[in-house]
């Protein structure tokens, strides 16, 4: 029982990272932009939040948890949006190839983040010495009473920092937005067929820009949750965020572009990822094969979706294509 609870806790924490990444990416992909820069954007968000927290705690005379939280939060969102903006300018205005631009953004984001992360480690006096205890604990504050006094239910539902709940809220909100609001429906029209949307008087460029940048900002929170909460406010240059970013891209496919499906998909991925830890008698080499599960499941979904060819499960029709009005 305790094992099961701890697996669920690990799955939710892990799932939160990729849920942010995936929901942001769904928003961008709904506008027709396949942003393969998600890992880069998550890197940018993660490092910006960490740097902001580090310097705030260092410089402020009387650091306050709430202020630290807001500063960190804002820095993360801004940095991730800038990453999205670079991608947007190149692919929307300059009509560069989306796949190549996205991969470049991933290289760039990883480079910037690890450059600053490494420097930060050095400034703090070594790997694992970065101290953002105040900010980290602000992010990791769990609900009083509910998380401690309610036993198993408290552990399963209330033992996480606020970002874990925010991720679910954002996913539900994005789902409502793209399915129930006229602006959201316009956005989907842009992603399905920009020429038709354009003819209907929708400003295609504006929609694509806003969706890509806000989507990147949301994805960035995945990086923030990872650095500040998941690994408790440190930085390691082992490329783990990149792997998580690709898993977020995988989750978008798994969820067939539906944010609400991404919620349980994220926790399922988390459970699959950590499953090896809870299966007794595995050798270290066979553990590695278990970690393959989330990717194998994604491939299975990909195959299943293309075999069944159901209309609601397909990617946006113009996904990956630049829009140029004068092109026939």
């Amino acid at each position: 029982m305790t094992q099961l609870i701890s697996l669920i806790q690990a799955a939710v924490a892990f799932g939160t990272v990729i849920l942010f990444g995936a929901v942001g990416e769904i928003l961008a992909e709904k506008s027709g932009n396949l942003n393969l820069g998600v890992p880069g954007v998550m890197y940018l968000g993660g490092i910006a939040g960490l740097v902001a927290a580090f310097f705030y705690e260092r410089s402020a005379a009387n650091p306050n948890g709430l202020v630290a939280l807001l500063v960190t939060f804002g820095a993360c969102f801004l940095a991730a949006m800038i990453g999205g903006l670079i991608y947007a300018v190149l692919t929307i205005t300059l009509r560069a190839n989306q796949n190549v631009t996205g991969l470049t953004l991933t290289i760039f984001g990883g480079g910037v983040a690890n450059l600053f992360g490494g420097t930060l480690n050095k400034m703090a006096g070594g790997v694992g010495q970065i101290s953002v205890a105040l900010t980290s604990s602000a992010f990791r504050t769990t609900m009083p009473y509910l998380s401690t006094e309610t036993g198993a239910i408290g552990k399963i539902f209330f033992s996480y920092g606020f970002l874990a709940y925010l991720a679910v809220l954002v996913a539900v909100f994005v789902s409502w937005f793209i399915n129930r609001t006229s602006v959201g429906l316009n956005l989907r029209a842009v992603g399905e067929n920009p020429a038709t949307a354009d003819a209907a008087g929708i400003n295609v460029t504006k929609y694509k820009y806003v969706a890509t940048c806000v989507g990147a900002g949301i994805s960035g929170f995945g990086g923030l949750y990872y650095t500040i909460d998941y690994i408790k406010g440190t930085w390691s240059t082992d490329g783990s965020i990149e792997g998580l970013g690709w898993l977020a891209v995988a989750l978008v496919i798994f969820a067939t572009w539906k944010p609400t499906r991404a919620i349980w998909g994220a926790y399922l991925f988390g459970a699959l990822f950590w499953l090896y830890y809870y299966i007794p008698g595995l050798t270290r080499s066979s553990q590695e094969l278990f970690k393959m599960l989330p990717y194998a499941v994604t491939i299975a979904v990909l195959i299943f979706v293309s075999l069944r060819h159901k209309k609601e499960d397909q990617p946006p029709t113009s996904l990956g294509l630049a829009y140029f009005r004068e092109e026939r």
Binding site: L34, L36, I86, V89, L90, T93, L94, R95, A96, N97, N99, V100, T101, L103, T104, L105, T106, I107, F108, G109, G110, G111, V112, A113, N114, L115, G118, T119, T237, G243, W246, L247, V249, A250, I253, T283, R284, S285, S286, Q287, E288, L289, K291, M292, Y295, A296, T298, I299, L302, I303, V305, S306, L307, P315, G320, F324, E326, E327
Partner: protein, 368 residues
Amino acid sequence: MSVDKVREPFVRISKRASIELWRSWLFRAAALFASLVVCGVIIFALTGLNPVRVYAAMFSGAFGTVKRSWVTIRDLMMLLCISVGLAPAFKMRFWNIGAEGQILAGGIVSAALMIYAGNSIPLVPLLMLMFLASAAAGAVWGLIPGVFKAVWNANETLFTLMMNYIAIQVTSYFVALWENPYGSNTVGVINQLSKGGWFPAIFGQMYLLNVIIVLALTILMYLYLRYSKQGYEIAVVGESENTARYAAINVRKVVIRTMLISGAICGVAGFIAVAGAGHTISTSTAGGKGFVAIIVAWLSKFNTLVMVLISGLLVFLDKGAVQIASQFDLNDFVSEMITGIILFFILGSEFFINFKVRFRGRIKEAGK
């Protein structure tokens, strides 16, 4: 008058029908120059160092000594080999993001042969066997998404991406299985004493065989894409699948065949990485080069000879940045940042090559 109220847009863009070669390269050179200026400003802001000195240090990092030059060439050949492998797939507009996985598949097979047969089979037949086996492994890794794309139209970008991670976990499995010494979680240098399965030195140069294999592949691929019937079919499928069908080209067959070739060459890249460079296998054997090679293949418009130039530029930047990192006390990742910035600029410059930009005032004059 309502006509006056219609404002002309400030800029108008139109697609160019064609562009002179010198002009397109002028745009690219301008982009490269601009990106170096931006990187210079960033380096100055971060470190306060004179950027010109930094670039000089980069040059010395890549070509400062004979040994460094050969390492630069070795890495250039590795990147070139992967880009050459990706060229046919991309020309077909098949987004093979899975080079990383195909490299690892080839690498695992090569390492396995080195470990289990390295000291029992003579070197030349062993190397040939490794070559064929790694090509076959890479081909299988490319074939799987290829078949699903050809037959059921499964999205290849995402499929190949997932195959990378499957390959990474398979590699981790074998690393744990073969680890040496026990508990280190690395395979270590394979056959360090017997050098079984290592590329032999030719004319005293350790990496000359890498150069020979990769350049041969580069030229063959150039000829294949340019002058063979199959290369033509790839181009037609890439331009328009409907046209290809109308011309009685079997699209499924072309897709599957091309992915076999693409995967096989990436598998060979894994063979070169294991037998000709690292003499070991790890999850970082591919090390992101499969992604960088995508950018190389795209920017060179699938012309394998241009790939030599672009991969040369990127490897030079990488080596140079590692040098400045150690010389000026930054960390290695500065190279990825610089690479990213330069690629952003080159990607942006493609716009000015493909499109014509006219400003408001000048259109009026032209109208009169």
